[in-house]
Symmetry: C2
Amino acid sequence: MMQEDRALMAFASLSQEHRLRIVRLLVEAGPVGLPAGVLGDKLEAGSSKMSFHLSHLEQAGLVHSRRDGRQIIYAVEIDALSGLIAFLMQDCCGGRPEICAPAFAAASCAPKESADV
Amino acid sequence: MMQEDRALMAFASLSQEHRLRIVRLLVEAGPVGLPAGVLGDKLEAGSSKMSFHLSHLEQAGLVHSRRDGRQIIYAVEIDALSGLIAFLMQDCCGGRPEICAPAFAAASCAPKESADV
DNA sequence: TCAACATCTCCATTAATATTGAAATATTGA
DNA sequence: TCAATATTTCAATATTAATGGAGATGTTGA
C-alpha cells in the first residue's frame, strides 16, 4: 500500500523534464530496462546530470538498477507506478466509480498497434 | 492528448502535500466538488495557503472552480487525471501491455465497499 | 597491469517554490 | 448601505532543487 510520503516523492520525481522522459522511456522499454548511457544519449544530457536524476528516481522507488558489466541498467518499478495511480484515484467519486470509469478506459496500458505475443 | 509540459505541471502540482491531499479529497468527492473553505478545514490550512495551492492546481488543469454565492467550489478535472496516466503509461512494455496489465488491475477506479447506484 | 569506458560523487552557483500575515475584493443578508 | 463571510492578492522570507565541471570509482579487454 502506497503511503502519502512515498507518493509525494514519486510525483516530485515525475515533475522534472529529464526524469519524466526517463520514466516514459523505461515504461516503453519494459522489464528489460535500458543502460544509463543509452538514456543519456536519448536525452542529450551529461553523465553527472543523468546520474543525479536517475538516483532521484531510484530514491523515489520508481526505478531500480542492476549492474551489467560496466553499464548500469535501469528499469521501471511497475508496481510503484500502479500503486501511485491507485493511491491517487482511491475511492474515486465517493464509491460510484462508474462516473469516472469511462475516462479511464482510454488510460489503460495499451499498445500503439496490435502485437503478437 | 496530453503534452509533456502539461504533464510536468500536473506532476509538480501533485508533488506537494497539501495539493495532493486536496486532489485526493476532490477525487473522492467526484463531480459535485467541495468549497475552498471545507478543504481548508479538512487540511487545517489557512485561507492564503489554500488559495495558493488551489490556484496552483487550477493552473495545472487538475481542478476547476465555480462560484456559488460567496463560496468557490472546486472539483477535480477527471479527464486531466486520466490523460496524465495515459501519458505516463503510453506504449508500456514496448507493445506487450500484458506484461504490466496485472499490476494495473488493482489500480483501477474501484470503491472501498459495494455501492448501489 | 594498464588504458579505455561507464557511471557516480562532490561542490559551488543559480533558480524555483512554499509560507506567513496583512490588506484587498466579492457576495450576502439584515 | 453596512457588517459579516469567503476567498484572493501581495510582498518578504525561508527552503529546496537543478546545473556543470572536475575528479573518483568500478569494470573490462588487451
